[in-house]
Every structure is written in structure tokens, then in C-alpha cells.
């Protein structure tokens, strides 16, 4: 078993044409990994590459040591689960329906497995509620439960903390940490949440389809990388063992009343 669950080697990835130009990176297992990058940098494309939803124009993508080109779509559930930020909203599906739509390797997640995943996240009382009527935070937890029920070793979550209030955001972060610790799975998230990145084991910063930096949070969450990543002045302070981020931006606050 390789130490890395996902490896990209000189990968060129995109749709009609490559968005990601030449990317080499690896994601350790088990880990909570966060991909940071400005809008349009190729974060979502990177996640989609792993589920073969984006086209690989050149180079290689390995999943669990296996060349992705040799994994047929029908076998993907054995390797990976994907949770979008949202699913089509005009549905009336119960929470249980949503979780049971996940694959369990070759078969489908059973009601029993679905309930266990919901219970693990402490949301089993939502099982028979209509998914559409839940709050954004509850919906995110259900989609995480769906990923968890799939028993895949790699869970891809697109922006799992976006649009959440601070409390819900930290609940999601601590749940993701707990999943990685308990289940020894790798959770890969993409988004703009630097707090989530700080609580990750591994952070990947990509910009304009190219790797800017990759490493532990302390390697990435610093003045140099963040300022370059977002093209604004960002300062990171370590005070009393805690890390604070100050975003200067280009706004001049001195004239403000």
C-alpha cells in the first residue's frame, strides 16, 4: 500500500482544453487535505479529475497506487466518494434516500449502513426528514454522512464549509478531523476556508492551474504563500501558540471615520 492515496504526475487536466497545465502533487493517507486557490484556479477541476469527470490530457493520475486510466467508471465507488457543495434542490428525498443513494463498493448502501453513518454524525433523528427542508449546515452533514456510508478510502468534499456560520463551520471541521482519526480515511476538500486549511494535515495551494506550494499547514499558512496565492497582502502572526491572519488587502482604512 502506497503512502499516498492520490498522486498527480505532470498532469494536464481540463474539459475542452486543459485548465491545469502541469501538476505534480501527492496526497498522503490518512489525512485531512485542503486544496486552496483563488476562483478559477482549478480546485474543482482537480477534484473532478480524481473521479474522471474532467479529462486528463497528459501525464498521470494515480489513485490508491493505480493508474486512473485503468479504473473504469463503474469501479470508482471502490476508491472514492464525491460530495458536491449542493445537490439539485427541487427534490423531495428523505435524508435516508440521499444517504442510501451512495454505493458501497459494488453494491448500494443499505438502510442499516445509512443509519449507522447518520448516528455516527449525531444526525440520525433527521433520517426521515425531507432533505430539501434542512438548514445548510444540516445538509452538509448529510452529504458527509453519505460519503462516510460509502466506505470509500478517499472522500472528496467540494467546499464543505462554505456558507456556514462560524459554529457550524467548526462543527464540520471537527467532524472531518474525527472521521480521519477514527476511520483512517483521507478527506480532501477544496475551497477558500483558511481555518479549515489550518486544521488540516496537508495543504495544497494552486494558482492558475499550477502548484504554488504543498505541505503542512505551517508550510503554507504564512505571509509569503498566502499573499502570492490571493494577490493581496496577508500577514500571519503567531501569538501565544495561536495563529492569526490579518488581511491588508488594498483597502486604505486610515481615512475611515
Amino acid at each position: 500500500m502506497s503512502n499516498y492515496i492520490v498522486r498527480f504526475v505532470n498532469a494536464r487536466i481540463g474539459y475542452d482544453e486543459p485548465i491545469i497545465k502541469d501538476l505534480t502533487l501527492s496526497i498522503p493517507r490518512p489525512s485531512l487535505t485542503t486544496i486552496l486557490g483563488p476562483n478559477g484556479s482549478g480546485k474543482t477541476t482537480l477534484l473532478r479529475a480524481v473521479i474522471k469527470y474532467a479529462k486528463i490530457f497528459g501525464g498521470y493520475v494515480y489513485i490508491d497506487g493505480k493508474n486512473l486510466n485503468e479504473v473504469p467508471v463503474s469501479n470508482l465507488p471502490k476508491y472514492v466518494s464525491y460530495s458536491p457543495t449542493e445537490i439539485y434542490s427541487q427534490l423531495s428525498l428523505t435524508v435516508l434516500d440521499v444517504v442510501m443513494s451512495a454505493r458501497n463498493g459494488g453494491g448500494w448502501v443499505s438502510e442499516d449502513e445509512a443509519m449507522r453513518a447518520l448516528k455516527y454524525l449525531g444526525i440520525d433523528e433527521l433520517a426521515y426528514r425531507n432533505f430539501d427542508e434542512l438548514s445548510t449546515g444540516q445538509k452538509r452533514l448529510v452529504l458527509i454522512a453519505r460519503a462516510l456510508a460509502s466506505k470509500a478510502p478517499l472522500l472528496l468534499l467540494d467546499e464543505p464549509t462554505s456558507n456556514l456560520d462560524l459554529g457550524n463551520k467548526y462543527r464540520v471541521i471537527s467532524i472531518l478531523r474525527r472521521i480521519v482519526k477514527d476511520r483512517e480515511v483521507t478527506v480532501v476538500t477544496a475551497g477558500h476556508d483558511i481555518d479549515l486549511a489550518m486544521h488540516s494535515d496537508w495543504v495544497i495551494a494552486i494558482k492558475n492551474g499550477e502548484l504554488l506550494a504543498m505541505g503542512t499547514p505551517s508550510d503554507i499558512i504564512n505571509d509569503k504563500v498566502l499573499s502570492e496565492l490571493y494577490d493581496i497582502k496577508i500577514e500571519v502572526f503567531d501569538v501565544g501558540g495561536r495563529r492569526f491572519i490579518y488581511i491588508h488587502g488594498n483597502i486604505d482604512f486610515t481615512n475611515d471615520e
Partner: protein
Amino acid sequence: MGEVIVPLGMVFDPAQTYRVIILDIRLPEVIACIIVGANLAVSGAVMQSVFRNPLAEPYITGTASGALLGALIGLFINVVLRLGSLSSMIILPILSFVGAMFSIAVVVMFGRGGWLSLVLAGIAVSIMLSSAVMILDTYLLTILPTLPAVVYLLFGTVSGVNWSEDLVMLCVSLPVIAYLLSSSREINLIMMSDEVAQASGVNPGQTRNVLITLTGLLTAVSVSFTGIIGFVGLVTPHITRLLISSSDNSKVMPLSIISGSTIMLYANIISKVLVPGVVMPITAITSLFGVPILLILLRGGRNE
């Protein structure tokens, strides 16, 4: 074909008239109602799911118009080549299927910008194909003023459907519907999100194409023999979802089949009793009742 009241006790009367009316005229119509209602309803449920579009159905996506033009071309070829009624039962559905696939391909190609653009592309293509239908139909009626099939197809009616046509419809519809019912979990995945489907082992592009082709087949075989029957495909899945408060296709599809057939059977009865002695085209009845139901559904959905 006017209205004849058959006394209940006379169905199995040895006197031929009533038996012919029941067994060779009315019964094939009833069977056609059941098959066409099932076909349209299940097509609507599948299209609404795979396009993630509450208005998608064979009529609004232009599939039915394409199927009708194809069927009329088939009729035209059949007439010009002086082929018999047996060949018409093969040629019509095949060309109707080609027409359905052509129109849905055009609509999907131009309607990529979201659910409204799919509907607009469908309406545009429908209008264009309806013009072609009018031209072809006027010509057909000029050269063959007594060809009843032309009139039937244009009006959307089960009147005049015979046993062999029922058999053709059944042979196509049964396996297709069975396959669609067995794919309900895959359809649910595509209804949620393409990426979710893909990661769950269901290639959304390929699967969507297969499913749309199958709804085209169901639409074509229905339109070939009964013309365009509006709103059953649109309204039935919505009513079903509302009744069971679920969009889960493993429940919606089988129940839509039952409701679609039931709606068609009632529409068939109403089409005969609305004006005594006159049989109305069934599509007039389904649209007359379907549209208000749709409007009520739209309002109800907003109030929730």
C-alpha cells in the same frame, strides 16, 4: 365513429354488433390508453429527473413533434409506395423514432443554458416541426382526402387504434419500461448531480443518452398510433410526487405508470360523453384538465 351505448348484459351477446363494438373497437382503445398513459408518464418522470427540469416531458422538449413529423413521413412513404397496413405498423414507429431522436438532439444541443433554455429550445423546435407537419399534412390530405390516419394522428386520439397496433406498442413499451424501472437508482443519482453519479459508478453522459433514447422510443411508438397527447407526461409525475411526497424514482416511476394510465382511461371516457354522440380528441381532454392541475401545482409549490 359515433357514440353507441352498449347495454351491460349485451357484451357477450351472440349478436355480432355489440361484440364487435366492445372487443374490436372499444377494448383496443382502452388498451391503447393504458399503454400510452404509461409511456408518457414514465417518459415525463425520466426526462424531468435526468434533465433536472420540472417542465421536461416528451411534448415540451419537442420529442413528440419530431415523432409526429417522422410518423407522417412514414405515412407518406407508405402511401406513395402503396405499401399495406402491415408495413405501416413497422415504418411509422421507426421513422417516428428517428424524428423524435432528431428533435431531442437539436433541443439538447441548443438548450444547454439551464432549465428554461431547454424549454425554450423545445418550444422553438416544436413550432418549426409543427409547420413541417402542417405542410406535409395539407399535401397528404390533398392527394388522399379519405386517408383517416392523417386526421387521427394530427388530433391526438385513441380512436381507431386496433389490436395489431396495440401489440406493436406493447412489444416496444414493455421491455423499455421494465428497463427504466430497473434503473431507478441510477436515475436518482443523475437527478442529484452529475459528479455524484460519476463517483457512484454511473457515467452521467452515457446513461443520460441511453435514458433519453428510451424515452424517445416510448414517445415514438405512442405518437405513431395515437398522435400527440399533451400534458400527461408533464402532469402525471408531478401529481405522483405530490401524492407520495417523494421524488424517489423507485416509487415515482411505477406509480406514475398507474396514474398515467388512469388519467388516460378517464380522459377517454370524458372524450366520449362530453358532447353526446361526438368523440372528442383525447388530447383536448388531457390538456383541458392537465393545464389547470399544472397551474395549481405551480401555485402550491410556491406557497410551501
